[in-house]
């Protein structure tokens, strides 16, 4: 016997180069603004949120010891907690953290290990080591807010944060926490940017086109996001405002590039089935298209398979922001919630000539009707994930 438990979003936050609030981000997306580097696609500084200062958001012990993505994640978590109004209502014993981290630790890992080689053990900062492992971001968030129910970390690349949302929802449904922060941050480090450039994955500066025939690569960008999830009945009981509910999530895998579209469509179809809705009931798709020709093509083919003839508007925030890897699924989900609330899908920046026909891309701002959105993501290793989110009435 299984039990069905509705899971609600009661807090959400974004920190991006296009704004540090959901309203600011939504306004920037609707206006078609971009934060994608225009001068160099391998300059880490250009990919980052200008002027970010963690102390302006939060005052927690040990903040300065953490690396930049961890500080971003802590700030995003604080914003989500504050927005949910749960501080003082939900104690640390009942608060959990599910983090998505595949790359956020790497800059510190490179720095620590390089210092060992160059400077030796005794002249290397020992505090870097624990921050140089992937679990540290989630652990630091849990430590900062006294989350004692659980703290787990996933590292599924670009599929990480949708998988993290699904895991958190299942853990909440099982009663392992009363509230759960799902959090992620990505800060492109110089080594990864150089590697991506040398692999031919990056678009020339200013040339990021998603879903378009002109797509020629992606761009990496810094972002941090958090959601505060609760069982809906608990949230209602404490008087919280429900921003959305989660309908269903499914993870699949593509062993070969040629299977990617089929794997992603399977994830989408199962997520819809779990949510108990058909494709025709969707108001919106928040896609993960990043400008990578093969990924965009497979995602579009997957959406054609999932949506059939349903004219569902498709938005893709990476056209404005670039790819924030682990944080991307969260960012897409939050953008979808904001779009459902506003009743409008922001335009896909720079999309003029879609490569794969048969879909209703938001080449301009589109009105949307209905409460349900499908969020899709895929990782370079073949992991695919899909989530159905339903906006609050």
């Amino acid at each position: 016997m299984n039990t069905t438990v509705p899971i609600a979003v009661t807090g959400a936050s974004v920190l991006t180069a296009l704004g540090n609030s959901i309203d600011a981000l939504q306004a920037a997306l609707r206006a078609g603004r971009t934060s994608v580097p225009r001068v160099s696609n391998v300059d880490a500084v250009e990919t980052r949120i200008a002027g970010f200062d963690a102390t302006q958001f939060v005052n927690v012990r040990g903040l300065r010891l953490y690396n930049r993505p961890t500080q971003l994640a802590i700030c995003a978590a604080k914003l989500a907690l504050t927005e949910s109004g749960c501080e003082g209502q939900i104690t640390g014993e009942h608060l959990g953290v599910v983090a998505a981290c595949t790359y956020a630790h790497l800059e510190t890992l490179f720095e620590y290990d390089r210092s060992l080689v160059v400077n030796g053990l005794m002249r290397t900062n020992p505090t870097l080591m624990p921050i140089g492992i992937p679990s540290s971001l989630g652990a630091a968030v849990a430590l900062s807010f006294g989350a004692k129910a659980l703290s787990v970390t996933l590292g599924d690349g670009g599929a990480s944060s949708l998988d993290a949302i699904g895991l958190a929802a299942r853990l909440l449904a099982a009663g392992r926490a009363r509230a759960c922060l799902v959090v992620s941050a990505f800060t492109p480090c110089q080594e990864l940017l150089l590697s991506a450039s040398r692999a031919g994955l990056l678009a020339p500066p200013g040339d990021l086109f998603v879903f378009d025939r002109a797509h020629c690569g992606t761009a990496f960008c810094e972002a941090a996001c958090a959601l505060l999830l609760e069982r809906a009945e608990d949230a209602i009981a404490r008087g919280a405002r429900l921003q959305a509910t989660l309908g269903g999530q499914c993870s699949t895998f593509a062993a070969e590039r040629s299977e990617q579209a089929r794997a992603l469509s399977r994830a989408g179809e199962v997520a819809l089935r779990l949510a108990g809705i058909g494709a025709g009931e969707l108001a919106l798709v928040s896609a993960s298209a990043s400008g990578s020709p093969s990924d965009d093509r497979s995602e579009a083919e997957a959406l054609v398979a999932v949506l059939g003839r349903a004219p569902v508007p498709i938005m893709a925030v990476k056209g404005n922001l670039g790819d924030s890897q682990d944080a991307a699924g969260l960012l897409q989900t939050i953008a979808a919630i904001a779009a459902l609330r506003a009743g409008t899908a922001a335009p896909i920046r720079g999309l003029v000539a879609p490569e794969v026909p048969g879909l209703r891309y938001a080449t301009e701002e589109l009105s949307i009707r209905g409460p349900h959105a499908l969020v899709t993501s895929q990782a370079s290793t073949g992991a695919c994930s899909a989530l159905v989110v339903t906006g609050a009435a």
Partner: protein
């Protein structure tokens, strides 16, 4: 059809009971289940000098190295990726052994609803080390086009899935040294709820200079061999390896005539939220994880026949774990055998609790429990039955497997004998 966020409730109410039908290992104690079991039951410490790499300021490097067969070290049925890390090879070999043990290798045409969860602490670290070794001479030119994909630990899971045709959830648990148990817990939920038919769950990690240097500087690296719960213990000894369990619906396993080692009855989770590296000294996090595991699996304290301890050999951990046992079980704690196989195969980080879950399954299968090696001078603060030096035969129906990780996550998995 499943409803959203359905979940298995207590044992007996879950949609499915979850059987362990296969185990696969690569450890310093052997890669064959019988050899591994014989080695750890004899209390043989396998920690010795490691010469494969150097770690600045750490001399000598002591650890428990695993040995891969020639075929496992260079798998010919995979693409010839010259960058495949040792960690991935360990994971691939143990996963294959697990599927073989479950009589599933190559036997299924439709694995769309089967998946894998791999736990790791550091994972594919070699590319970081090789980049930095070249950095003084080459600078940024040492970065090559493959780094981005090689630095992605999800490869550990995706390579297993690719090799064995798994098309369900393919997931990477990066929950420090509790990663293996977290992977088992996650896979349990997916099978128990009916979302997947079968999951491979496990962990893998190898020896890295990052870990040696880090623990050395923290004063937590043993200068000889680790001695969990002993008065003379001076820190951790590391090992490398991988361990995987095949988890599937018990009824489906019975229908196909599979051997069932044990069932995963459920698990408990908690977080210390105390310190980024140190455990909460009173064992409060362990206590909450154990109590949750007992409650959710409907297990009475006096049903526990064996506890596989996290047992790292650090002063803090072993005392905290002992205090937790006393807090949960009271005076009964003294009559529950508890041991740490890390005393023999070292601390294998993200693989550790997965390997220890395999050891618990084997304990139920063989009706015997492994010892804690090197324990000859008991600590006054560690006053439980740690099964010193040599394994014991005794009835084993229910085991607890405890794991903790940097940052404070605790996972307690309950394994039970299937009648």
């Amino acid at each position: 059809m499943l409803s959203p966020w359905s979940y298995p409730q207590k044992l007996g109410c879950a949609a499915r009971r979850v059987a362990i039908t296969g185990c696969g290992l690569v450890t310093a104690a052997g890669n064959d289940l019988d050899a591994f079991w014989d080695a750890i039951m004899s209390g043989r410490c396998l920690i010795g000098p490691v010469r494969r790499f150097s770690a600045p300021g750490v001399e000598p490097i002591l650890g428990a190295e695993a040995t891969l067969s020639a075929a496992e070290a260079r798998p010919i049925d995979l693409d010839s990726d010259p960058h495949r890390d040792r960690c991935a090879l360990l994971a691939l070999a143990a996963a294959r052994r697990g599927l073989t043990d479950a009589s599933l290798l190559g036997s299924r045409s439709d694995l769309q609803r089967c998946g894998v969860v791999v736990g790791t602490t550091v994972g594919e670290e070699r590319q970081v080390a090789s980049l930095n070794d070249a950095w003084p001479a080459k600078g940024a030119n040492a970065v090559d086009a493959t780094l981005l994909s090689r630095a992605d630990n999800h490869r550990l899971a995706s390579e297993i899935a690719r090799r064995h045709g798994l098309r369900g959830p393919v997931l990477l648990s990066a929950t420090a040294c509790a990663s293996g148990n977290a992977a088992v817990a996650w896979a349990y939920d997916l099978v128990a709820s009916g979302e997947t038919e079968l999951m491979l769950a496990g962990g893998a990690d190898t020896l890295t200079r990052l870990i040696y240097c880090g623990f050395s500087r923290m004063g937590a690296l043993s200068k000889s061999t680790c001695r969990p719960f002993d008065r003379r213990r001076d820190g951790v000894s590391f090992g490398e390896g991988a361990g995987f369990l095949v988890l599937e619906d018990l009824e489906a396993a019975r229908r196909r005539g599979a051997r069932v080692y044990a069932e995963v009855a459920g698990y408990g989770l908690s977080n210390d939220a105390y310190h980024l590296t140190a455990p909460e000294p009173h064992g409060d996090g362990f206590v909450r994880a154990i109590r949750q595991a007992l409650a959710l699996t409907g297990t009475a304290p006096d049903e526990i026949d064996y506890v596989s301890a996290h047992g790292t050999g650090t002063n803090y951990n072993d005392v905290a774990e002992t205090r937790a046992m006393r807090a949960v079980f009271g005076d009964h704690a003294r009559s529950i055998p508890i041991s740490s196989i890390k005393s023999m195969i070292g601390h294998t980080n993200g693989a550790a609790s997965a390997i220890e879950s395999v050891a618990c399954a084997l304990a139920i299968h063989h009706q015997a429990i492994p010892p804690t090696a090197g324990l000859s001078e008991p600590d006054l603060e560690c006053d439980l039955d740690y099964v010193p030096e040599i394994g014991r035969s005794l009835p084993v129906n229910t085991c607890l497997n405890l794991a903790a990780g940097f940052g404070g996550l605790n996972v307690c998995v309950v394994l039970k004998k299937v009648a």
